[in-house]
Symmetry: C2
Subunit: 209 residues, 2 copies
Amino acid sequence: MKNLAEPTEEKLDAIIEAAQKRFGIYGAEKTSMREIANDLHLSKASLYYYFPDKENLYKAVIEKEQAEFLGTLQNDIDSMNDPAICLKRYAINRLSYFRKLVNLGRISPGSYADLKPLILETFLQFRSRELKMVTGIIEKGRKSGVFTAKDSSEAAVLFLDILRGLRSIALSDRKLMGISDKEFEELAGHISSAAEIFIKGLMYRKQNK
Amino acid sequence: MKNLAEPTEEKLDAIIEAAQKRFGIYGAEKTSMREIANDLHLSKASLYYYFPDKENLYKAVIEKEQAEFLGTLQNDIDSMNDPAICLKRYAINRLSYFRKLVNLGRISPGSYADLKPLILETFLQFRSRELKMVTGIIEKGRKSGVFTAKDSSEAAVLFLDILRGLRSIALSDRKLMGISDKEFEELAGHISSAAEIFIKGLMYRKQNK
């Protein structure tokens, strides 16, 4: 019981990191709580003190990855002035993140409705955060007169759904999981072109005809 | 054996139509070849003379529906001069067709990779036909100076993939099959807006800034 005596933030982080490694190599299904405890020289009881089950630990890993990705995106956005370039970079960064998640086995083709509620929740939370981020980019472009969108949030929803849709069909057309370099390049080209046309659409002015 | 004596085009059409009705009401899985034969007062042997199995009959039904839909689209395209309006109408017509297929149980969420090869073949054939159609619309707009796309076929692939992606995620977010009027209206609004921005993107000219 001595492990329980000292619950710390550091231990929490260490557990999440160890789980992230195991999940990354073997997948969440083939990883047991005992293995993660062993990796850290923790008792199983100690591990369960932090996380009641593997699902909650899995959720914590996903949330950590999401926070890291959103942080990277925010830095990228903050370092850039042109909202059109910013949106285009968002499309490609988002695809890189998707690729990482697919290759780690975090995402598989099939219905969102199949996800466990706890995991679905983190995905929905992530989506609302990225929506806020992209709305911010479009709003900035609208205020500076680059974009003509009446409703920045609506345009952001469309932009994100278009990207998500293109990723979704790329995944559904394939039998095997994992995205190779070649496939990634192809998909990135496709998504870049779509994003580019969409961004031009946001910049379109009628008098220009 | 007398039924086999007179294989005709009319009988073929009657079989496809009877199967279409049964598949529409009960779904392909819950329909037997015997039921279709009974509907037409045909012997089972007679029916098998025309179609070796249910899958081939199912394929014929899908191909009939596809041909009808493509015919309707072509008429719509031919009756219209403005390629921008034409593309936008395509997006909505395509969604109506999708709704019909979903409500008939012809499409379910999940991987294309799960489809039987025979059925996948008809979907791919359909896709290459609609690509040809949409390429034609964009090429017309390009020649008349409305669209700025360098490659009409590439732009058509993007346009169709965006529509398909938006349909795909709309389906994957839901547990139940079938699309209600309300859901259709929402999705149609969403797809219209996306198509509109994309079309403006095709019309965008740099000097307009």
